[in-house]
Symmetry: C2
Subunit: 195 residues, 2 copies
């Protein structure tokens, strides 16, 4: 399956509106296939996120580095998600976050100006956009709830239930950062829950 076929499938899964052959041409004309190497940056803190990229293959982290040099992973993104800092992308403000590839990646990249001009008129696309905004809002709401209500151990169990594939795919120290705890604490939690 080609990159674009993956994308068309994705969009049809999230939206009831059908994509016409013309619509597909529009996407193929403006979505630019791009490769990112492991460790390559998609976005640097302070820059405006002018591009968004549909992830066909690979994974990335959205993160900050604090004054002590510690990394905090806000988001882990995998196939069939979008690579972007929504805040910067929609508000056109400098981003607080970095985005970097964790594996070699293939994405379909487009600028927000192109989206507005060429994709906005496509009903299936706007419907998809609404769904992803909605789902992202809900996912973050759940994560806020977990953060203010759960212990570190409960948040880890939550992750096991909701994103089990993350555990197989990403090293433990990244999972710890994503959960907002130190790698040592996560290691000890795992040791305890084995029993």
């Amino acid at each position: 399956m080609s990159n674009f076929e993956v994308f068309f499938d994705y969009i049809q899964n999230l939206s009831r509106k059908m994509l016409s052959a013309d619509d597909k041409q529009v996407f193929m004309a403006h979505l630019k296939p791009k490769k990112l190497l492991k460790r390559q940056y998609f976005l640097q803190e302070g820059d405006i996120c002018k591009y968004t990229g549909f992830i066909v293959k690979g994974a990335a982290k959205t993160f900050t580095v604090d004054e002590k040099g510690n990394e905090h992973i806000l988001k882990l993104s995998v196939e069939n998600w979008w690579l972007a800092d929504f805040e910067s992308y929609y508000h056109l403000t400098p981003s607080r976050y970095n985005i970097a590839a964790l594996e070699d990646m293939e994405i379909l990249q487009v600028t927000n100006a192109q989206v507005e001009e060429f994709f906005a008129p496509i009903p299936a696309f706007t419907a998809m956009q609404e769904v992803i905004k909605q789902n992202y809002a809900i996912a973050n709401q759940k994560r806020v709830h977990a953060a203010i209500s759960y212990t570190a151990e409960e948040r880890y169990e939550d992750l096991i239930n909701n994103y089990p594939h993350f555990l197989k795919r990403f090293p433990q120290n990244m999972i710890a950062s994503y959960l907002g705890i130190s790698p040592e604490t996560l290691s000890r939690i795992r040791k305890n829950t084995l029993k």
Copy 2:
């Protein structure tokens, strides 16, 4: 200014599309003015959130109660926001949260079925909906970032900067719950930062 005028102002602030006189009639026909007394529940954990309400006056909390009886406040909602659990409202699944009035409230209430049937065709309304989903997603993203990266004290300072009016309006123990810390810890943080 009448309840509806407040609402029309709100919608025109968030959307470029103009509301016609007919549009306004549609809203007035289906948005039902309702009063909630302080402590009254708008939504109970386990119920499906079939209604949403535009807050004309008053404030509410969205919260859970854990097995120890501790309350965790996920969200504090005030004028010109919507009263609802988005997750339950959009997915039609039982809600994990309770929503209760913190003050006597006036809201404009509507069912999601009515929204779909009568409001969805109004461009200014759908544009507004996109904006609020987007803003809610971004606000929650920021809160997740704060939760995983900041200490309790830093989260409190963050709140002072971003929602100073919350501090005047809500008691300190609710603020603490919203920040995910105990009331005693917040009291001590305030004592220390006075210096």
